[in-house]
Symmetry: D2
Subunit: 339 residues, 4 copies
């Protein structure tokens, strides 16, 4: 079996990271084409990889005969066109979140894939590949907590880039908890409320941080999420599921425990998402590569998942403005698949 030939579109921080990962950690795959709107950047990178070319036009890159599959790390606004091109060429595509930047185009992408009758799109919700989330999912699937009833999530960053605004907290941060909820509970979120506590004095002027989100799911489960992106402390992601027969928590940040004068004990909190989920990214890419090469349909999060996330986030932004619960509007999955 020959290596999977991948085109990586967008070689900013995330895309370049994926290029390096494929080259150094992923068996059975190699990057044959790179593309970026900064042409020179792509060319410089291509020159460092044996058998890799830069192609200036993203659609040409997708169409190229030397490309079996596509990894999309371009800005979200360009995803729709690029995803549709991948579908047109029948090429599997691994798409970093978001699927697209609004609900309507996300749905359009979902429909076009459904028409093909073949799963080609995977979205980059890497937490599904993290060992702790997998363990928690298994616990739920095995029924060991009984019916899940309530979930508490915490999502904290030490800091965010200067351009980060209040709605990005929903679309870029909270979106992960949206997918976690759907992944763990296997049902859609039907309502979201965003609460705005008094803001952190250290947050940039105008940034509503922290935010508290309340999800209600189809069967009435309650999820609350604290998103706090200017804590100045560290990267902290914690999830507790409370079920009818017990509860379980992940993300306690334990590990090396140290004692030192004067009278302290403790450890180091994961400094950033790279350390926390680096292995999850590896597993994610490798499974996708393996699935694609073997011809078996990928089973990671798909276009529908990207669409659902977009729908919930749109409602979340609305609730952020109104302060009230906002119903999530989604078409039924059956209307797409015809099943």
């Amino acid at each position: 079996m020959s290596d999977l030939r991948i085109a990586v579109l967008g070689v900013g921080m995330m895309g370049a990271d994926h290029v390096a990962r494929i080259g150094s950690k992923i068996a059975g795959a190699r990057v044959t084409v790179v593309n970026d709107y900064l042409t020179e950047k792509a060319e410089t990178l291509a020159a460092t990889i044996p058998g890799c070319r830069a192609i200036a036009d993203p659609l040409d890159a997708i169409a190229d005969a030397d490309v079996d599959a596509v990894l999309l790390a371009t800005p979200g606004t360009t995803h729709e066109k690029q995803l549709l091109a991948c579908l047109e060429h029948g090429k599997p595509v691994m798409c970093e979140k978001p699927l697209t930047t609004d609900v309507a185009t996300s749905l359009e992408v979902v429909k076009r894939e459904a028409e093909l009758g073949k799963r080609l799109i995977q979205v980059g919700f890497m937490r599904r590949f993290d060992a702790e989330y997998v363990a928690l999912k298994t616990l739920l699937t095995d029924g060991e907590l009984g019916t899940p009833l309530v979930m508490h999530c915490v999502h904290r960053n030490a800091e965010v880039p200067p351009n980060f605004d209040s709605s990005m907290i929903v679309k870029d941060s909270l979106v992960h908890e949206v997918d976690v909820t759907r992944f763990l509970f296997d049902e859609e979120i039907t309502s979201i409320q965003v609460i705005k506590p008094a803001a952190n004095p250290n947050a940039p002027q105008g940034l509503q941080d922290p935010q508290i989100a309340i999800f209600q799911t189809a069967s009435g489960k309650h999820v609350d999420v604290e998103v706090f992106v200017t804590t100045g402390v560290a990267y902290e992601v914690r999830t507790e599921v409370v079920g009818e027969r017990g509860s379980a928590m992940i993300g306690l940040d334990v590990g090396l425990v140290r004692k030192s004068a004067p009278g302290h004990w403790g450890g180091q909190i994961t400094p950033s998402f790279k350390e926390r989920f680096g292995l999850a990214y590896d597993v994610e890419i490798q499974r996708w590569v393996d699935a694609v090469r073997s011809g078996v349909n990928v089973d990671g999060p798909g276009a529908w998942d990207g669409y659902a996330a977009a729908a919930v986030c749109a409602a979340g932004v609305a609730s952020l403005e109104s302060g009230l619960p906002v119903a999530v509007e989604m078409v039924s999955r059956e209307s797409i698949t015809g099943a």
Copy 2:
């Protein structure tokens, strides 16, 4: 200095526990009078305690010349009359929660005490005496977390008595988090929302359990509380405060950690409130005894705190019905103290 002579009114589970505590753990105090609406029960108990009599009428018990101070463990509906009698006789009284069973009578009690110009009433919020809560309070007072912004609370019971109804979850369970919020943040709760997730299948028919309560405080701090009283697991009380310079959590239930076949590690969760807060009860009573004997005014939670709790709970019950945020209505403290 001679021993403090205490009348214990109400010798059901809680009252009998206090009688035993005073006899065996509390220096400088003794029970000289017991009272219960079940006369025989009080007499039987009195017979076991040297120098102790049963008095049939609670008001007579309060007035008795052999009584320096009163401990009230009677049903909440009788508190108002008994508290006023204590005030009339100028006798210090330690009153188990609630202060009274509604907001109006609570306020009346507060006013009558204020008219005396002397602090005589203490309410039984024993968490203020628990070592972990004290440590958390100290952390906040010392400013080590900066401005507190958000608090997450969990309050779980394995089970509740058969007559426990949905509003008792608010008035008997959530009330503790009400006081914890006021104690830790030193400000009033201005709004409460109670969310009703799909009920625990194992809860008695008609009981809304779990419940999620959202408090907003005067300065805009956010507090969420999971109250879940039919977990079947254990007694779990957990509190996390998130501030501008870090967060802190208490109630993680660690202690003896054990590993056993096949492949498990863990420990025992505190089985009930007696184990969890037994020492706090001791400290509470002892400090009160000491304060009363030395003539220094008591500094534990007072009538105002009982009143504030009643006000918040009333709003909570309203929100439980409407599902919407309900403003808490309270008179200003200045209108009472005249300060």
Copy 3:
């Protein structure tokens, strides 16, 4: 039942602490006599306690008609004479460790008590009253770990007084692990080896610190102890028992857990033995008071336990010099009790 009248002999740090404890935390007891070789110190203290006198001669204090029981917190060298006086007067005595300062006199005390046919002496091994040790003991008694095989102990102090020498590490520190071993395993220690690692550069000149002690018990159980008294960190006491069906550990110093910038999490280690075992001291004294007042023989650690500790420590000091295993020499218990 009237209060137990206690004479406290020796009112240095430990004795004064006990005097305060009895006055403020212990029900059913009061200090009627205090004694110290610094006469003025005892008189000053007595003046602060209602109904309490200072008596200059310790033997007179023991004999005094106003004394039901004696608490010994005098220097170890004076214990033998004072203990024998207590036995002579048939007065119960709570004796801070050591029982006496050498094996022979300890044995003499054991014999004299045995001749009386009545248990009068309790030795101050307060760990037996600590909740964690009690939980560990219960686990073993209930057979949940099966046969215990190995125990690992850690005993660390941040610092010690300037006069602390290498043998005091054995006699004053390690002695607690000696009693813990005997308490948990219900059998005697038959061999001890003290290993001398390269010394801590921060330890005072000449102090062998840390020390590693290896005990073997009668049935062949292995116990190792790290004693390290100049860590500069905190007071840490940890015990892990490994049995045929699992292991259990106490003393992990968890509690309030805090996260703070830059990227640390952790808590506060118990700063000293007062915080760690304060409650154990209370329980210890109270149980003793109760047992004495009720006329039931005390069941805490007795003279035999003090003797056994002395025997093991003597062997420990010998091993400290030779670096080799040293057999512990003890008479059989049957030779004393005649049973």
Copy 4:
């Protein structure tokens, strides 16, 4: 750069695992030759790997023109001859422990590699690649604990194969702590003592389990190790280093923490070494592949490390018999390198 062509010698459990790893997780490498003394087994395996042949004679496999490097997972008794063949052909070799089965042949191998003046051999001490051990090493290197003084290690298996004997506990289990000690402290072990507690009643007849090993290092550091291979519980590896400025512990087995009725909390202990160190194996192999392909000398544990381990284990087996401390005999490293 073309893929590294690897011959895997020995395709039992460990070798087959490495073959699978290279095929599915390791970038830049492929298995071109497999060998086993069970010829058919090798042929069956080769048939499943594109471009891979079975070669019946291990020395032919090493010499094969289609082989750049060798991975040795054959029985330890065959290592010497195979390692020398690798050296003769100038081929890098990754050798599973032990280097050879006795001290003399280990030293011979070290010498032959030294004569070549080129580092070709790496030994399979994979803990050096485990994230927690790396974090602990970094802590020590950065001096955050000051001078290390004492180390406590625990090494527990739930069970062992039927043929496991008392000396294998030293040579196959304890050997890892030997390397951990040398890795963390950067100095040789100079003395070892193996203590034999009363055996676990559940251990096979004749197996001395648990065993306690005491190491002393060149500078006088103390290391104790509990090796207990029939716990019936799980795979537990724990290491605590105590230094002059604090202590640090790894291997606490925390992760997903769960609460369940009736009143338990806890998590799952790592079931076996595959889960615990699987990632470490990946990193180990990948770094080795990368180093070999780039022509830079490998920096993992080398032949000298294998020799040192053999020397310590030989002394350990001797102490196992005598029960006394046994000095470790080794030539000086300078006598080999001539430096």
